[in-house]
Symmetry: C2
Subunit: 518 residues, 2 copies
């Protein structure tokens, strides 16, 4: 109690400090600082006294999903999960946090975006940054060398998000990966087929899947005279080509990364080659310089093979081989790919570019990547005590951006999104029938019918019908003295207002019949 009084006294004094500053028209910074102290003191009180200082918000970069958003989210997930299952994938789940050291050394510069948990004694933990590293940890830990799995879960990045464009600090990833030692490019082609199927089924508009290979990039850098230890950083520069012009990238390569203009120009000759297909791979195999790089030849040969499988999968109309595709992550070792939506006007808010221009960010022209992935044959080995490698290839669907687009489409459409699946409301036009309503409701629940009943003793018929209109319930089962005497229920179709008496014994069957399509 003494404590409480002390705090209350401190609050009183701090209140006066704030009032005085306001009277003196002190600077905003100064006032804000003292107000913050005041709020802090009030928080210490807790309980009722503290309640008025609650900041009613979700943490920066996060959001709630309301029921309407959830209905849309579930529909999108269903399409994606169906596709993953159609391709024979199992699913698994991992904890939302990992030992800090599990994540260490996997994300290069982006490691600074990892959310750490506070050290409260015990292990040092961090929220997962993606689903790929936990997957690799799972494989190594359980000595699994063969699996095709999907994983849909939230990941966490302390980024400065542009939420209007579907970018958050907490966001879902939908990953599909194939682990195992197989013949080249078959699983890789399946991953691309999956992206093709999902983007087609979700009807997001025209899209394009760009493909490249880390070994081609490395070989290209090599023959252009980039020192090997700079391959990755030059990769990061090239990765920006979908957002900025070659001149800007060249500038970065020369001014920031210290390569000669000559080397930069040679890189430019390659990355500015127009995207193509198998024919482009064939042409580059004849390139006098590239053909000297073993890595490039291996990559180009695999690209040709990949396209032959994509031909069989009837997906080549939307897949191009693009030498300018680089992708930021360190762990890729072979083929890489990224899907973009090419129809203008999909991203409605052309927000200014982020200051840090981080990967995955898009300018107003490019509507942005909605899926990406590649081959990472070394990651599992990083976790295995003996360094045993498990070759992996996978794809991650950029689901938050897809949610935004589908939400916009739903907003624009006339069709109302239902947030419940209730088939029938049990109602009454007369008073004192609560017990009869509850009894019928329970009968229907027991028969597996989705039923609601208003939680009022004597609700008005109008408000019962209004509830059906508001929430899209298609049927009303109306009870009255007469119906009870006759052993029937008046079944009303909300849309056309038709009413018909149905015997109580036939009611379940009749409701099932009428709602079997919905």
């Amino acid at each position: 109690m003494a404590d409480k009084e002390q705090i209350q006294q401190a609050i009183k004094e701090q209140g006066e400090v704030v009032r005085k500053l306001k009277t003196e028209k002190a600077s905003k910074e100064q006032i804000d600082e003292e107000v913050a102290k005041l709020l802090q003191l009030k928080l210490q009180l807790g309980g009722d006294e503290g309640k008025h200082v609650f900041v009613l918000k979700t943490p920066k970069g996060t959001r709630d999903y309301n029921p309407k958003q959830m209905a849309i989210r579930d529909k999108v997930f269903k399409t994606i999960i169906n596709c993953f299952k159609r391709h024979g994938a199992e699913t698994l789940d991992t904890p939302v946090f990992e030992l800090k050291e599990t994540l260490t050394g996997k994300y290069g510069e982006d490691s600074k975006l990892i959310y750490d948990l506070k050290d409260q004694g015990g292990e040092l933990l961090a929220l997962r940054y993606d689903l790929t590293v936990p997957f690799a940890r799972f494989l190594a830990m359980n000595k699994i060398t063969n699996i095709k799995r999907y994983h849909i879960a939230k990941v966490y990045r302390r980024d400065n998000p542009a939420m209007t464009r579907g970018r958050y600090r907490e966001f879902y990833q939908c990953d599909f990966d194939i682990a195992g030692q197989y013949d080249p490019m078959i699983p890789d082609a399946e991953c691309l087929k999956i992206v093709y199927e999902i983007l087609s089924e979700l009807e997001l508009g025209e899209f394009l899947i760009k493909v490249n290979d880390r070994r081609i990039l490395d070989g290209m850098f090599d023959v252009c005279g980039v020192p090997q230890e700079q391959f990755r950083t030059i990769c990061s520069s090239v990765d920006k080509l979908d957002k900025v012009s070659w001149e800007e990238v060249k500038n970065e390569i020369v001014k920031e990364k210290g390569l000669t203009e000559e080397v930069a120009d040679q890189i430019g000759e390659y990355v500015n080659i127009k995207a193509g297909g198998s024919d482009l791979a064939e042409k580059l195999l004849q390139d006098p310089r590239l053909s000297k790089s073993k890595a490039a030849v291996a990559g180009l040969t695999d690209i040709k093979l990949l396209f032959s499988y994509l031909e069989l999968f009837q997906t080549t109309d939307k897949v191009v081989f693009d030498l300018s595709l680089a992708r930021g992550l360190d762990y890729y070792t072979g083929v890489i790919y990224e899907a973009i939506l090419t129809q203008a006007g999909v991203a409605p808010v052309p927000a200014p570019k982020d200051a840090n221009g981080s990967a995955g960010d898009e300018g107003p022209v490019n509507v942005g990547s909605v899926a990406g992935g590649g081959r990472y044959d070394g990651l599992v080995g990083m976790f295995d005590p003996k360094g045993r490698k498990v070759p992996c290839v996978g794809v991650s669907i950029g689901i938050e951006r897809i949610f935004s687009i589908v939400e916009q489409k739903a907003e624009a459409s006339a069709e109302k999104v239902r947030t419940t699946e209730t088939q029938v409301l049990v109602a009454s036009a007369q008073k004192n029938l609560l017990e009869e309503r509850l009894k019928l409701t329970s009968e229907l629940w027991n028969a597996g019918i989705k039923v609601e009943v208003l939680y009022k003793r004597n609700p008005k018929l109008l408000s019962q019908l209004q509830h059906c209109e508001d929430t899209g319930i298609p049927l009303v089962a109306i009870l009255g003295e007469q119906e009870l005497r006759d052993g029937v229920v008046k079944l009303r179709n909300v849309a056309n207002r038709e009413e018909v008496d149905v015997s109580r014994a036939d009611l379940v069957e009749e409701i099932r019949k009428r709602t079997s399509e919905s």
Copy 2:
């Protein structure tokens, strides 16, 4: 590079320190300390050099779900979600972390179990402890006064878990809540009906739902002479009655909480009354002392009303009014309930009791609570700037314990749990048919059939058939030179090995027909 060399030099030196200590047979503590420093140095290197020091585990109190566990988990969730939807619930989602202050002052003593995020600049955050407080925050933030929603998500508690009994630091909750100003006990009765339905459908064995009311407990404490400010702490003591004897509870009330033996005995007279139904409520309404407490009378009257609705819902065979049910959480204001499994042998590992004997913990006799909840009419008001109250009642299903039980049942059963839904494997007995296999596979995917194909150029027929046996794929579509010439596919039933030629045009229909039941 200089950095790296420095670290490598430091690793070399530290390695020698460790070797020397080992040679000298120094104490384990001393060696461990120097080894830890060595590992730390190696971690700094990252990449390949660091790989062998990874501790391959999930954080304490967490676990991965492998595909088999996921198949079981999804089945249990499906049953629960179906029930929630049958009762007309919408769903929503909230971020995994909240502003720290949102959680402050809601959980009493258990606040120490909250996981805080590290202060990395910006807001102070903590992982959600339950789904109820985020729900109340959501209602206040969006000024929602009426909603029936379910929320299935993970919550986090830095407890010392007994994982063998399905208790973790990261675990799922399945919450169903009804918010809104309604006539008394109707939504409350629906919550109990939901628990009844879910526990029946999951076939977990016999169960019992205990019901009480905070106002009855408060009234009882009042007439027994407990000072009002001690109501909550005495509640906590009474809450332990399902685990320890009345003697131990009495001891705590007298020795630790400082009440007189006389007061304790009076409490004992009430909480040791055998559980009953509506009749017990009626009897207590006649109790000369209890009837003097307005709170107790209000609670008892509502219990009677509740039982009249439960009668209509045909659930009274498993619901009892039990004066010893207290429940730990501070925010309950009215009816409270808890469901327990009463069949022995459900919890297989009778582990010793936790040192702190925290709420929700069970001894070897009691197989433990699998659902609980109650009415909390004041929580939303704690978040509302003007303190506007939104009455709420809800229930939380203790899903982790249910998973454990269902998993054990699956282990014990002969039936194999499938982890994929693949309907057909496209196979070949001959070499050089990869392209034909991929083409057929793609055709079937495009028709919506769930298909797999082995990622090998020339897999053996035996290994293809073995894959079907291993994963439960019921059909094999076999291609050969002859079949290709004839425009047919040999469709094989894996279970009975029957093979039949199906024309390529009819294949999709035939597969659908044969797998329509699965």
